[in-house]
């Protein structure tokens, strides 16, 4: 009984304190909101140096915990320099008499003061040199590639060492490899042709999955929410699909009705049908790249917003609530990381299946 009363009293005290603190923070809330917004925006962007975290020290300076990366520009000749010259975007870097400045994660050519001129829509009009810098995302891609290579190389060599039985860390992935083979590749592409697509399907699945998972760690990694990365992946799917396309695949696009009706009857239909089919070639990989990009980006924004909410609420009710929400969302994101990798692989396999199909589809033609 005594204890219950104590708890009640404590709750009341906390409630009061939290209201008080809520009130006192009110003046700073505007700042905090914009700061969080900027932080989220910053997190979603690529950066020229590998900083895992940053904090503001006692002197009010931002201290970054990380290391600079090489910047590689093509601007009338190759220019290579360390990203530490930008001082996290605060200063102008001078290389061979040219001046460069980072503005919204893009490098612009400027004058010595770093002036950036804007057009009417507030877009910078400065010249942009061709930028092949090793950014944070490139480093992460490379590290994931290295990890995958070591992991699966280890798995591959464990088979020969152990008489065809997997050993070591890689064996966890054996069932997944088999799943991709038996439930993604074979049903979609067919028993006869699935073999040549397997390396791509496996690589893309594990690559997307691992990178998505890394994005959920607090390291501030986010690669699959860069449109450039998803474009590159979808482009490879697109190229493989169309370069391995059989006669039937192209016939399906340019002569979908086949011999079901005389040629003069097909002409008016084909004026509509062929553009749709041709557009379909491009829409399929485009949907791949947008889906992956948007899902991962939305996930990151929601996660970070909920985490940001904890700091905005600063109350005993709001913060745990947003913590709970953030926790729930992060669990969902774990699923999404796998699901997006699965969907990308699955749809790629489906498209390869269209490209590789080689059977008489008169029946299908009737269905059209």
């Amino acid at each position: 009984m005594q204890r219950k009363i104590t708890i009640k009293a404590l709750t009341l005290v906390f409630l009061l304190i939290s209201f008080v603190s809520y009130a006192s923070e009110d003046t700073q809330k505007g700042d905090l909101k914009t700061e969080i917004k900027a932080y989220i925006q910053h997190h979603l962007e690529d950066s020229y140096d590998f900083s895992l975290t940053s904090y503001t020290n006692d002197q009010g300076e931002k201290v970054y915990w990380g290391f600079p990366l090489p910047v590689i520009l093509w601007d009338n000749g190759l220019k290579v320099f360390s990203s530490s010259k930008f001082h996290h975007g605060k200063t102008v870097a001078e290389v061979d008499g040219n001046f460069y400045k980072v503005y919204h994660t893009k490098i612009y050519k400027t004058d010595a003061e770093g002036t950036i001129n804007y057009d009417a829509e507030k877009h910078p009009t400065n010249a942009k040199p061709l930028d092949f810098s090793i950014t944070k995302n490139v480093v992460v891609i490379f590290l994931v590639g290295l990890l995958m290579f070591l992991l699966f190389r280890g798995l591959a060599s464990s088979y020969s060492k152990n008489n065809g039985i997997a050993k070591g860390a890689g064996r966890i992935f054996e069932p997944i490899i088999l799943y991709i083979r038996d439930d993604i590749a074979i049903p979609n592409i067919g028993e006869k042709k699935y073999r040549k697509y397997m390396p791509y399907l496996l690589t893309v699945f594990f690559f997307v999955w691992f990178i998505n998972m890394l994005g959920l760690t607090p390291l501030g990694v986010n690669v699959t929410n860069s449109i450039s990365v998803t474009v590159a992946l979808a482009l490879i799917t697109f190229l493989i699909t169309n370069f391995t396309g059989t006669k039937d695949y192209w016939k399906h696009i340019f002569d979908p009705l086949g011999d079901t009706m005389p040629w003069y009857a097909k002409i008016p239909l084909y004026i509509i049908l062929i553009p749709i089919e041709v557009l379909g070639i491009f829409i399929k990989p485009f949907s791949l790249l947008i889906r992956l990009y948007a899902n991962i980006k939305a996930g990151h924004i929601v996660m970070m917003s909920l985490i940001g909410l904890m700091f905005i609420f600063k109350s005993w009710l709001g913060s745990p609530l947003s913590f709970g929400l953030a926790f729930a969302i992060s669990l969902i994101e774990l699923l999404v990381a796998l699901l997006q990798a699965y969907i990308f692989t699955m749809l790629s396999a489906l498209y390869f299946g269209f490209a590789a199909e080689e059977h008489d589809h008169h029946e299908e033609a009737h269905a059209h």
Partner: protein, 166 residues
């Protein structure tokens, strides 16, 4: 759309493509091919092992059936042999009995015949001995009788007397 294009970075795209293709080629050569081959080999091995086990089982069954058949045949043969042996035995016994009976019959007939001849001989002997004995007796009696003259005379007289009577 414009924002998307603004976000697009040719450098990242370039590196992603290059690194991903390199990764794809490396993994294909050093990881996926060996892994998929090993898994295929293993699955094939399991399938073969199952098949051969099935075959061995079938062979075993065949063998067992053969054994059963052989056993049955052997049993039947033994039965046959026993039956034959019994028949032979019975026949032999019958034959022996018949022969013995015949032989015995013959022996009896012979014995009877020899008994008959013996009997006849004995009777003949007995007759001759009886005749001899009676002759000897008669001789002795006659001699005794005739040693005395009176008696001889008497006998002659009696005989004469009888003869006269006749």
């Amino acid at each position: 759309m414009e924002k998307l294009l603004g976000e697009f970075s040719i450098g990242l795209f370039f590196w992603q493509t290059v690194l991903f293709l390199a990764l794809l080629l490396l993994l294909r050569k050093f990881a996926w091919k060996p892994i998929l081959n090993a898994v295929n080999d293993r699955e094939e091995g399991i399938k073969n092992a199952l098949d051969s086990a099935e075959q061995a089982k079938r062979e075993m069954e065949n063998l067992q059936a053969d054994n059963q058949k052989l056993l049955k045949e052997a049993r039947a043969e033994r039965e046959e042999m026993l039956k034959e042996a019994r028949e032979i035995k019975n026949k032999m016994i019958d034959d022996a009995k018949n022969e013995a009976r015949e032989e015995a019959g013959k022996l009896i007939v012979q014995a009877q015949a020899s008994i008959q001849t013996e009997k006849k001989a004995a009777i003949a002997e007995l007759k001759s001995q009886v005749a001899n004995l009676s002759i000897e007796i008669a001789e002795k009696v006659v001699r005794e009788e005739l040693s005395n003259k009176d008696k001889q005379v008497k006998l002659v007289e009696s005989m004469l007397g009888e003869a006269t009577l006749n």
